[in-house]
């Protein structure tokens, strides 16, 4: 398990991280969500050791990480970059070897990843000749090529077309299933919602929420219901009911308690045919908005 504990970081008088703590569990995909400038990239850089925190530490399986003990980490930085004149294949082999792999293993991993990410035809081309989308895939390959035992990815999906997103989602899920901790940040909340098991929400350098996505959702669940029926006029002025939205098919409403819900259902049936009556779970975007408020 990767544990982030009590990270503080200031640039001059500006505090960018304030007592940041959370866990990234092995075998799980942890989504790291926050607005621009919330502290995601700073946190990830500290996890990777390219930045020193003012206070706090990062532990892996209970041991505090020191410089040089992160060779098994896979990292995709926010600022993308590979050697522009190096050929894709040799570049991946080089990075794998820098991470301590023997040449034959480095080569085998490179070929497998290139194949998997659909870059086989580009293997011999210099990075600068690749399209932006392919450069992005190459960057993901660079983070994975040494079979990392921890994965930290800063915005891995930005700049990818929907098909590439699917491929990368599969690859990352596969890695997590092998039992390594995977932490990734993203602005695309729909992808995070679909992909992650755990969530960490950061705002203004402080962790606002952290834990299993299901728990978070349950915690922020409301008694919001959607009803699709011929007639929804009866909802108006009903005690304990607040209508949130009306659509041609029906309406969405918040109920004050469970009894109100039951009464509303009975009323709906009494007023004609009902095609849908369902509880609405908050989306990640809604939870996010509420948490960081």
């Amino acid at each position: 398990m990767l544990q982030v504990r009590g990270l503080d970081k200031s640039y001059g008088s500006r505090k960018v991280l304030d007592d940041v703590s959370f866990d990234v569990e092995p075998g799980k995909m942890t989504g790291f969500v926050g607005g621009n400038g919330a502290g995601k990239t700073t946190t990830m850089r500290i996890i990777l050791g390219v930045l020193e925190p003012d206070a706090g530490e990062v532990r892996l399986d209970g041991e505090t990480l020191r410089s040089g003990s992160r060779r098994g980490f896979g990292y995709m930085p926010e600022e993308r970059g590979l050697y522009p004149k190096m050929r894709l294949e040799e570049q991946l082999v080089y990075l794998a070897r820098l991470h301590g792999l023997e040449t034959p293993v480095a080569r085998a991993n490179t070929l497998a990843l290139i194949e998997r990410l659909g870059l086989r035809e580009r293997a011999g081309e210099p990075i600068e000749k690749l399209s932006l989308g392919n450069q992005q895939r190459a960057q993901i390959a660079a983070a994975l090529v040494h079979d990392p035992d921890v994965l930290v990815l800063d915005e891995p999906f930005s700049g990818l077309d929907p098909m590439a997103v699917e491929v990368v989602v599969d690859v990352l899920r596969e890695r997590a299933n092998r039992g390594i901790p995977v932490l990734f940040s993203s602005h695309q909340l729909d992808i995070v919602e679909r992909l992650c098991d755990d969530l960490v929400i950061i705002a203004d350098g402080r962790i606002r929420a952290a834990g299993p996505r299901r728990d978070l959702r349950a915690k922020h669940a409301t008694l919001r219901y959607r009803v699709a029926a011929e007639n929804t006029a009866w909802l108006d002025g009903r005690p304990g009911v607040t209508v949130v939205e009306r659509t041609p098919e029906g309406a969405m409403f918040d109920a004050a308690d469970a009894n109100t819900v039951q009464d509303a259902l009975a009323a709906a049936l009494a007023h004609g045919a009902v095609t849908d009556f369902s509880r609405q779970h908050p989306t990640l975007a809604e939870i996010f908005k509420e948490v960081v408020r």
Partner: protein, 358 residues
């Protein structure tokens, strides 16, 4: 991280630097041109020196030059015809009868006094040199220039190479991936090592080609005279280059774009250029050369020159080398510090104060 892994990382980084450089067409072409120039200047120089052409001289009838070698006589009828030939440039000079004692001949030149011809016609007393092994002053000048040019060209070319390579990693942001995987010092060491291997390799190639050129043109007898100086030059070059390379790496790390390299590397560039110009202008001034032979930045040029001139005691190169090595160790530490502190500061130029602050 164990020493073995660090060594392995350094080797990987160095090998990449070398491989990428050897793939650059510009680098290969410029090296080829450099080698061709070295070979050409040695061979052509020796050919012109070995085959002096006879001097064309107009000779008025009645002057006997049959026992003077090196003269191609062009017979003319009288002084007027001889003057015409000299004026037209058809001959270099003319020999005409004269009433002036004791020779009874006079030489006509166009604008210059034809000294070559005069020496051919003169009788010189025998000369015995007391210090026959002292270097020929012209050769000494050439050796000074050669050491100066080779050190200057190599330090500039490969120094800028390493600065550019550092900036490339910053400007392309690949640096963040590298630093997450390997220690900064291993990266810096690998870069300096790789570039030094290239620089020393190029110098070795130049010397090899020069030796081949010398043997082709039959000038191998020069080697004992310049051999020790060249050997010391090699030793000083290696250390001196590492010193400059670390400074180029550190100053390169202060900027994030290739266009800005000049703004921070200029002080280092000056350290390379000043000794070069000093040795060109003051190579005959023993005091200046003496001082330069101990100053770390000029020692690689000046000390081998003094060894060639035979003006250095046996212990002097050793002392200068110790000074150079100590300076190098010190400046590498400063350089590594600047490098470490500046690598991840992207965007604006990193100030010296920021880079050196505790």
């Amino acid at each position: 991280m164990s020493a073995a892994t660090t060594t392995q990382i350094v080797r990987l980084v160095a090998a990449r630097e070398i491989a990428m450089r050897l793939r650059s067409v510009a680098f290969l072409v410029s090296t080829g041109i450099l080698l061709a120039m070295v070979l050409g200047s040695i061979v052509i120089g020796s050919i012109t020196a070995a085959n002096p052409t006879d001097i064309r001289v107009a000779v008025v009838e009645g002057v006997d030059l049959s026992n003077v070698p090196g003269i191609e006589a062009v017979p003319v009828d009288d002084r007027a015809e001889a003057e015409d030939l000299v004026r037209s440039g058809d001959v270099e000079a003319a020999i005409v009868p004269s009433d002036t004692p004791p020779l009874g001949i006079a030489i006509l030149g166009d604008r210059d006094v034809p000294t070559d011809l005069i020496s051919l016609l003169s009788v010189a007393p025998p000369v015995e040199l007391l210090d026959a092994n002292a270097p020929n002053p012209f050769l000494a000048y050439l050796v000074a220039i050669a050491f100066g040019v080779i050190f200057f060209a190599s330090a500039m070319t490969f120094g800028m190479t390493i600065a550019q390579s550092v900036v490339e990693e910053k400007s392309t942001r690949v640096i963040e991936i590298l630093l997450a995987a390997i220690p900064t010092r291993a990266l810096l060491t690998g870069k300096i090592l790789g570039t030094s291997v290239l620089a020393v390799g190029q110098i070795a190639l130049i010397l090899l080609v020069a030796a081949i050129g010398a043997s082709l043109s039959g000038q191998l007898d020069l080697i004992p005279a310049i051999g020790p100086a060249v050997a010391w030059f090699g030793v000083f070059f290696i250390v001196g280059f590492v010193l400059l390379a670390s400074m180029f790496a550190a100053t390169g790390a202060l900027v994030s774009r290739q266009e800005d390299i000049g703004s921070t590397t200029t002080p280092v560039t000056m350290l390379v250029m000043i000794p070069y110009f000093l040795v060109i202008f003051f190579n005959t001034n023993p005091l200046v050369i003496g001082i330069m032979s101990y100053v770390p930045f000029s020692a690689p040029i000046a000390m081998p020159l003094r060894i060639f001139l035979g003006t250095a005691q046996w212990w002097e190169p050793l002392v200068a080398l110790v000074i150079l090595v100590l300076t190098t160790v010190l400046l590498i530490r400063v350089g590594a510090r600047i490098y470490e502190r500046s690598l991840l500061k992207l965007g604006a130029r990193v100030s010296w104060k920021e880079a050196l602050a505790r």
